[in-house]
Subunit: 237 residues, 2 copies
DNA sequence: TTGACAAGGATTGTTAACAATCTTGAACTG
DNA sequence: CAGTTCAAGATTGTTAACAATCCTTGTCAA
């Protein structure tokens, strides 16, 4: 495990591309992740240009990158829309997480160093604080980020990228199929998973994670999809 | 498990983007995968334009996509170069595969249907044929593709994408750090893994896969890196 | 000979105009 | 009134010229 992880420079997200479009990508990515941009929302080039004060080329490149990550969908001659996962895709996302995440926490329970654990502990504190203040978007963001940080704690950028994609998709899915209450993860499950990792109990950590994922998935209603639209680019600040 | 998998339309690689640049991406991707394009090779826009008979914009978009997949590296004002993984990245790739692939084959041993197994069996036959004829690039291609097809057999596009990225990186790494002999996977290990899956023996399949990955990794010399260069764009046909 | 320096050419990055496609809405027909 | 057609506007796709940067090469001086 690495100590540089929390610096978030070593294990970071986007490869290639200049910093300008990475900024746009990150902003939109984050907005989707926090469910501030609903699926099917149209992202027009002109709007994004003025929002970010940047040329059309940069916006187009950013959109291309986002589409390659599955965050948005590019329709030919029709523009970019926030991705809208369907039932089957939702199942795939959870299946993929069920495959990857249990071995991940198992490994963390065996190998995580103190620095990683400190970061995660710190994160849980933030989550609790946000929950206490009932800050909806903050709760959503931190809930997803916990899982991302688990991956980050491995110090492995491939694992991180995989998990980041899966967690983002999960956020879209929960926004689409979840009831307003369980928009985030159940209260203390994250904390319990971390405790299992800290007490170096791989089996327990894995078991808790599996039931955690099951809780999230079972809180979804795969048939009734949520209100599709809403649009403001002021969402992007 | 799905029956449409081998049609390779359901679980496919690239999201978004028009077909033209996907063609370019696929061509370069494949060339890297088959070790016909060595790391550090420069991919100049002009060259690619004439090679594919396409405008500069298409090429630039393709390069951006390839860089987002980590296949190439975009250097500001200096152009695109085939990615050149270092020692630490190589270790990360194998660590990620060790995390993902064992549960994957375990799951296949439990759930793979006859169609999936038939595809894999067929693949092994092709591999053997290529080996018999000593067709180097074909052997390399099929060796990697076996692992990709394992992922494809799950019918899960996220798992597929993850594995595809990892396998491609592995190909780069083996080309860089491997001796000329073990450029591909050891002879009958793929076959044995498949047999374990067919006989519905998850533990054995997992065990064989782990030792298979270990064989590949231990055949590498992480310190002596290979001849860096060679360039022709006729490589792309 | 070696090194620094500068000019020219080559390559990449950016912009703006143009072309193609889609969307909107009003007029028209049945 | 419902449905269709068509034209104007809006949006996206493409191209070509221009700007900026990098690389090469030849010259010069130590």
């Amino acid at each position: 495990m690495s100590s540089e992880v929390q610096q978030s420079n070593i294990v970071t997200s986007d490869t290639g591309a200049t910093s300008d479009e990475n900024f746009i990508v990150e902003r939109i990515f984050k907005a989707v992740m926090e469910q501030r941009l609903a699926p099917k929302t149209k992202l027009s080039e002109a709007r994004l240009c003025e929002t970010f004060g940047v040329g059309r080329m940069r916006v187009r490149r950013a959109l291309l990158l986002l589409s390659s990550q599955g965050i948005i969908e590019l329709q030919s001659n029709r523009g970019a829309y926030v991705a809208c996962p369907d039932k089957s895709e939702a199942n795939d996302v959870f299946a993929a997480r069920m495959l990857v995440e249990p071995p991940l926490v198992r490994q963390l329970a065996q190998n995580a160093d103190d620095i990683d654990l400190a970061i995660l502990t710190d994160h849980i504190a933030h989550e609790d604080a946000a929950r206490a203040k009932k800050e909806r978007t903050e709760i959503i963001r931190l809930s997803g980020e916990f899982h991302t940080k688990l991956a980050q704690a491995t110090g492995n950028k491939f694992i991180f990228r995989m998990m980041r994609e899966l967690v983002t998709r999960t956020s879209l899915i929960v926004g689409l199929f979840g009831s307003s209450e369980n928009a985030s993860c159940p209260d203390d499950e994250h904390s319990n998973i971390l405790k299992a990792i800290q007490s170096r109990n791989p089996e327990l950590a894995e078991e808790l994670l599996i039931s955690h994922l099951n809780h999230i998935q079972s809180g979804l209603d795969m048939d009734a999809r949520q209100a599709p639209q809403d649009d403001l680019a002021a969402i992007l600040r």
